[in-house]
């Protein structure tokens, strides 16, 4: 594949985060480099049916703290996470309500489930009380694109409004989708990222599927790439990046945080089961690099998708190793060691973590990493923080069953961006 031909560059002008660690991108990065963990005993709902559970929960999440006294009744938890993250991103990027009235701002949201809790609750109410007693509010929110629709209503976003589902790859896929919407000239400003909520339905489902690191068991380990790992811990949250066409962002005097340089998306037909999964990771990285017009040696840091899954982490490690086989391997971090598997939000969190790391010059270590699996081949993996001088990084967003996305991002300020535009003109 050849490099992206569009002359329209896509930059990041603001970030919104609602996570188990922090609700601000700088605090989020601080927590990551302090090695704090958002994974704690679950308090959001009763887990009697499962025994004691830990999760990366957004504890005491209170939208009123951000939005003021507002009527949140029509909006479920998944959408509330997104509405607040969007609020933060608009504040940070200077997209005031007035500006949003003048321009059509888009929204591309990655999610695995939308709200499976709302969907299931709606259905159960109809089963228990009869279909005539089903709740219309819940039905409106039962579509998988409900959070994107509710957020558009809340913040007056009349541009493209898309929801992208790709399991745990969805956040990365959404950022790629939004990047293309800007490159093609279809949009100038798109808020993009991902979100999923913690709820009984998904937690129970993953538990029954044997995908979670067994809570309460002594040998439970969800440390990415660690040889003791035996599953992931579920997390939640919303991460959104305000993406804009570079010139229009500079013209309005926006703060520039970074640039989305390239993206790759491909599919592993084995659905995560064999070495084709590793090959798909290598391919997605290669596609993202060639889209960015870069060679692998340009990349100094990788924000991995690894979540503690036995096969998934192994395939990702092999894919990264193959993509960087010819060069010195970049530093690799895996923030799911601290956030858990936040599903649709995870690709956005991985991106935000890496961009903030490059801006601050410190890459967080993999929390809890003690025994690296033999033969993983990731020399850039470390339990401790590392200094980061490079300006180009790679983000992996990988599904549990075949979806693979990769992004190349660059840290960038307004001055550098203006210079870059002049140079390439």
């Amino acid at each position: 594949m050849s490099p992206n031909q569009s002359s329209r560059r896509v930059v990041v002008t603001g970030i919104g985060v609602v996570s188990s660690l922090a609700d601000d991108p700088a605090d989020f990065h601080q927590a990551l480099i302090k090695g704090e963990s958002g994974i704690q005993p679950l308090s959001l709902f009763d887990t009697e049916k499962l025994g004691p559970c830990v999760a990366g929960e957004v504890r005491d999440f209170d939208p009123v703290k951000y939005l003021g006294k507002v009527n949140l009744r029509p909006v479920d938890r998944a959408a509330r996470l997104v509405i607040v993250a969007a609020h933060q991103a608009f504040l940070a990027s200077g997209w005031t309500p007035e500006l949003r009235q003048e321009h059509n701002v888009g929204l591309v949201l990655g999610t695995m489930f939308g709200s499976i809790h709302t969907i299931s609750s709606f259905d159960r109410r109809a089963l228990e009380a009869g279909p005539k007693y089903a709740k219309p509010f819940d039905f409106a929110n039962s579509v998988i694109n409900a959070a994107a629709g509710q957020t558009a209503i809340w913040h007056s976003l009349r541009g493209i409004n898309s929801t992208v589902a790709g399991g745990t790859a969805a956040g990365g896929q959404a950022l790629a989708y939004a990047t293309e919407a800007i490159r093609t000239g279809r949009s100038d400003a798109v808020l993009a990222g991902g979100a999923d909520e913690l709820c009984f339905e998904s937690l129970f489902g993953f538990h029954q599927a044997g995908l979670l690191a067994a809570s309460g068991e002594d040998d439970a380990c969800s440390v990415p790439f660690d040889t003791r790992r035996n599953g992931f811990v579920l997390g939640e949250g919303a991460g959104l990046l305000m993406l804009e066409e570079a010139r229009s962002a500079l013209d309005r005097g926006a703060t520039i945080l970074g640039e989305i340089r390239g993206h790759g998306n491909c599919y592993d037909c084995s659905r995560g089961q064999d070495e084709r999964a590793a090959e798909a990771v290598r391919r997605a990285i290669g596609l993202a690099l060639s889209d960015a017009g870069l060679e692998s040696e340009a990349i100094t840091a990788v924000s991995a998708a690894a979540n503690g899954s036995v096969l998934g982490d192994r395939h990702e490690a092999a894919g990264i190793a193959a993509a960087f086989a010819e060069v010195e391997e970049p530093s690799v971090t895996a923030v799911k060691s601290m956030l858990g598997e936040t599903l649709g939000a995870s690709g956005a969190f991985a991106t935000i973590a890496l961009l903030e790391s490059m801006r601050a010059g410190v890459l967080p270590g993999v929390r809890g990493l003690e025994e690296r699996e033999d033969g993983l081949g990731l020399t850039g993996l470390s339990a401790t923080n590392r200094e980061l001088e490079g300006r180009l990084g790679l983000v992996n967003a990988i599904g549990l069953d075949g979806n693979v996305a990769a992004l190349v991002i660059e840290r960038m300020n307004a001055q550098e961006l203006a210079q870059r535009i002049v140079e390439t003109a």
């Binding site: 969907i119 299931s120 209503i153 589902a165 399991g167 293309e180 998306n265 491909c266 599919y267 391919r283």
Partner: protein, 404 residues
């Protein structure tokens, strides 16, 4: 010069049959696929009809995946995809798998999997829920199953944009091809008949008791259905090089968001999507020879869509035939705009327009040409496919006769 994108294959599984030819013949003949709901008990409901696909056997379409381990929406999607690829007439082994991708749309994904979970929850026997619930349920498995079955290892995206999802999927696949990220894309939508969806629309009072009569004065609502359609999209150059047939060229699309209400549409959004699609394809309203309406059959949708078309088309609105096949196959949710896109491509290819069935009395507020009850033979140079969804998502896509 931007890549031109051709529609080269069509597959569909619908309440009025399966496969391009059967579906098209039945739609032109005005056949109706609506009957008593069989997939769950509607005794406690005030309505009882739906557009289910009866006697669907997915087995012949599966050679890679175990059909019994795949949800119904995926089964419908794989069947439509297999048909579409066969219809396009290319040798699958001639494609680089890494350059072949899939974009699918849906409203509910695999709702039966969560409905089964809910049954167990209510019955108090959750321990009966197995590992398949969470591995089969998430909606992205639909595009994944299509790709795994066909061994398409390229771009793979699932877009759950509710009732406009098929058009969203086509739009995304169009951009993927134009930016050179693939040589072949399968794009479409799929949904299986869902208790949740049915309950919701019944609760909103939106389901018609017997027939779906879009644009009719006495229309009483929509009728939920199920189905899948997949279109094969390829860059024109590539089709010409292999000597493949072309149904239509996809020349543009427009998306917009109302940012107004979750379930009540705002006509400005629909108008912006239509205008955007016309601009994107460098067409004027008077060029359009057919509109496949969203036309659900609810009093509000049909009135608002009519008003939005008038806003965009002006006087030309009265000269454009606009029909709704939902009168025959109900509202197949995420599949709807994909099936309707297939209809647009076939209208352009064959100069035939399917009717709006069950049309009896003109509504003074719906005074356009809805092609009542009888199919029409009429030249269609350009066709527009409209779709609107919960969340205020609007999408219009343009298909044209292809002049290579």
């Amino acid at each position: 010069m931007q890549q031109r994108i051709a529609v080269t294959g069509i597959g569909a599984v619908t309440p009025v049959g399966a496969g391009r030819q059967e579906v098209w013949e039945n739609l032109l003949a005005g056949r109706c696929g609506i009957s008593q709901v069989e997939s769950f008990d509607t005794a406690n409901y005030s309505v009882h009809v739906g557009a289910e696909i009866k006697d669907f056997d997915p087995t012949p379409y599966f050679s890679q995946l175990d059909v019994s381990r795949v949800g119904r929406a995926s089964q419908l999607a794989v069947a439509a995809a297999r048909q579409a690829v066969a219809d396009a007439g290319f040798d699958v082994s001639s494609i680089e798998p890494e350059r072949a991708g899939v974009v699918m749309g849906t409203t509910s994904g695999e709702p039966r999997e969560v409905e089964l979970f809910d049954d167990h929850y209510v019955a108090g026997d959750l321990e009966q829920v197995g590992p398949e619930f969470i591995t089969r349920y998430p909606c992205h498995v639909i595009a994944g199953h299509v790709a795994s079955e066909l061994q398409f290892a390229g771009v793979n995206v699932m877009i759950p944009a509710a009732c406009a999802a098929g058009n969203y999927a086509l739009a995304h696949a169009f951009d993927v091809l134009r930016s050179g990220r693939a040589d072949v894309m399968l794009a479409g939508g799929a949904d299986s008949f869902s208790r949740i969806t049915y309950t919701g629309f019944a609760r909103l009072g939106a389901i018609a008791p017997e027939v779906c009569q879009p644009f009719d004065l006495h229309r009483k609502g929509m009728i939920p259905g199920e189905g899948a359609a997949v279109l094969v999209l390829e860059p024109l150059e590539r089709v010409l090089a292999r000597g493949g047939k072309i149904y239509a060229e996809m020349t543009g699309y427009g998306l917009s968001c109302d940012a107004h209400h979750m379930t009540a549409a705002h006509p400005d959004g629909a108008a912006r999507a239509m205008s955007g699609a016309l601009i994107d394809s460098s067409r004027k309203p008077e060029d359009v020879g057919y509109i496949s309406a969203h036309g659900t059959g609810t009093p509000t949708n049909d009135r608002q869509e009519t008003s939005a078309v008038k806003k965009v088309f002006g006087d030309a609105a009265y000269n454009v035939p606009m029909s709704s096949i939902k009168s025959m196959i109900g509202h197949t949710m995420g599949a709807a705009s994909a099936i309707e896109a297939a209809v647009c491509a076939l209208a352009v290819a064959t100069d035939h327009i399917p009717p709006t069935a069950h049309f009896k009395d003109q509504d003074p507020e719906c005074d356009l040409d809805y092609v009542p009850n009888e199919a029409r033979e009429q030249r269609v140079e350009v066709a527009m496919n409209n779709a609107y969804a919960f969340g205020g998502n609007n999408a219009s896509v343009i298909f044209e006769k292809c002049q290579p």
